[in-house]
Subunit: 388 residues, 2 copies
């Protein structure tokens, strides 16, 4: 068997939203199709991958730097002969050949896009959902039947008032999400507290509400917010300061007793390790949000998981950023604590299959081979267009 | 005044060389021209910028993500009205609008390319060498007359033997470089020791030889090399382990008594701060190699310098990576310890002006307005082609 083609294109992910730092209206998404010569159900197996929201313009790095290495490689070197399947680890090594260490930014996104497509193809060739493949190869043998998901939203929109925020969160609750997340730090503290209290009214208690600063606060502001929100006992207080300011994160661990979460902007095992070494994160209550689709893919994520085990962390403390189906399969297959979900934004790339249902913030899993994009009616036509 | 156009293109930097990690033969360089409506010597002032070696394919991020923000901005918002000149800090803020914090990789290169062009234009509009502008605005008033430079080379080439290495280093010595640098870690220890001893014969003592691992070693190998090279008292032992493994760097500080250097793959103030906080670097002897052209430009480098001062580090401990003229002006204008130089590689982007001479590892400065690309006969035609 072999890879016969790798195609790449760019799509918009238009969203009229912003968080404390950015608006998403100009963002794009790179989409990759890895075409194999393996036939299943009478057609060649094609794996698909894309990047999570947050970083974009990976297509140039893909076309000029990463994909030419795969094209130039001996096709046999990308294959796991014994399994008659692609070898994601060998493919990863080829993609990263000639790359300098350190500086983990957009390059990590480009590699992550291809890695997603490779794992989709691997599971399709095995004719199993990816979660099952992962559980059998690297996990507990069988995947979790359901995965915890929370609804990420609560963005600042121009003209959005407290009642609009409540309507939004109520709609997530109506769609089966117990835990919801909202943005803070884009408004003054007193206004954010008003928003938080309004949100708590709708979600049924502070323990069902997470708040996300998107890395905006200095230590003084972080402490002022911590003191103000402590009485609510929130689900978590997320990405409080600059994601690389491990000193700030460690200081907050001495100040704020309830759960904190961070990691979506740490794009390598080495960066994640520095958070664990220096960030004072507490393995009994805090949450780690590394997103493989922004961070060199599942191959690197497995290195991160090994590092976490060495440092005494359970994979159940991981709830990845990104709201995509790859992380959902990883969560079920490798026993993570859950996954993010964006019920209303970042379409068509975010979100799960049409047939997957959420109840009490638990989602069931796709039974299709691969990652299950074929059951996502808003996304699969774009993928088929690319592979045609 | 205003910016009337920003142009971008991509050029090869073909080099048949490799270090312990990578070969450079497929690398490219992004080149930017910032065209203003200011007339000097009868022609519009154009600033030029490019990225250092090591990372590439920044053109996509420039075209799709960074430059559209400058094009969309109110031209007046990019200007320092009082000075009648471009405002590099305001331009930086526009380039980084809507960017998430953390994950400092290729994005930092794209911004660095434009920042270089902006500073070139700023100094041309002031009709002074950039070093003078920097010394007057932010430094000691007048720039250093000469800057320490070392010759970076000693790469592994296919078929290159010890005598070829000696010939190469001898040629650097003949061109005025007292201190030379060679790669190690791409061969077994005993072979590298043979190379090091051969190099020392040519450069006149271990104190004139720096060795560079390019981040390849684990702690055990790092210690084995440290023990083997300690008797030579080398100029420095560079980037020993993964650039983000501050724990390894800190461990080496307790083991290796002579100077160490690192930082070329830390692409933001926050990453640099983590090295200073956690890496055990010694302000009395170690060297910091952050390269502004890979790291969001001089605007971010000034933040890094402010952070260093807060942590008790002198700017004289900084010898930037990259061998480009921007860092040479920064070194002279802001009182750094020196600059890298690649006498033979990364042409035409690396290297200094045709009229600049090196003696006893000190280089004199360009007297042209701006960064002085106009005196670099192998480079300026490419720049003029882009601005035409």
């Amino acid at each position: 068997m072999r890879i016969v083609d790798i195609r790449v294109t760019t799509h918009p992910i238009a969203s009229p939203i912003r968080n404390a730092y950015i608006d998403f209206s100009a963002m794009t998404c790179s989409l990759v199709a890895v075409v194999t010569d393996v036939i299943r159900d009478g057609r060649p197996v094609v794996g698909y991958g894309f990047n999570s929201n947050g970083r974009y313009s990976a297509t140039g790095i893909l076309k000029e730097r990463i994909l030419p290495r795969l094209t130039a490689a001996d096709p046999a070197s990308l294959i796991d002969d014994a399994a008659g399947n692609l070898d994601p680890f060998a493919i990863w090594d080829v993609m990263m050949a000639n790359e300098k260490p350190g500086g983990h930014g957009e390059r990590s996104v480009a590699v992550g896009v291809v890695d997603m497509a490779v794992w989709d193809a691997v599971a399709k060739i095995e004719e199993k959902p990816l979660a099952t493949v992962l559980a059998e190869r690297y996990g507990a043998g069988t995947p979790d039947e359901k995965v915890f998901v929370y609804a990420a939203g609560g963005y600042y929109y121009p003209g959005k008032d407290v009642s609009a925020l409540q309507d939004e969160l109520r709609s997530y609750r109506d769609r089966g999400y117990r835990v919801c997340k909202m943005k803070i730090g884009g408004a003054p503290l007193d206004e954010d507290i008003e928003r938080i209290e309004a949100a708590i009214e709708v979600v049924g208690g502070g323990e069902n509400l997470a708040v996300d600063v998107n890395g905006r606060f200095d230590l003084k502001t972080a402490i002022a917010y911590a003191e103000a929100i402590e009485p609510y006992g929130l689900f978590w207080y997320e990405e409080i300061g600059d994601p690389l300011d491990y000193g700030l994160q460690a200081a907050m661990a001495g100040i704020y007793p309830h759960p904190m979460a961070t990691g979506e902007n740490l794009f390598s095992m080495q960066d994640a390790r520095n958070l664990i070494r220096y960030g004072g994160m507490r393995p009994d209550r805090d949450w780690l949000q590394f997103d493989c689709a922004l961070s060199y893919g599942l191959v690197e994520y497995m290195r991160t998981m090994a590092m976490l085990r060495e440092h005494g962390w359970s994979p159940r403390r991981c709830i990845p950023h990104g709201g995509h189906q790859l992380s959902l399969h990883i969560a079920a297959g490798l026993g993570l604590g859950g996954n993010e979900s964006y019920p209303d934004v970042f379409r068509p790339f975010g979100g799960f299959g049409d047939d997957q249902t959420v109840a009490d913030s638990m989602v069931d899993l796709s039974t299709l081979p691969g990652i299950g994009f074929e059951a996502k009616s808003d996304l699969i036509p774009l993928m088929h267009d690319l592979a045609r």
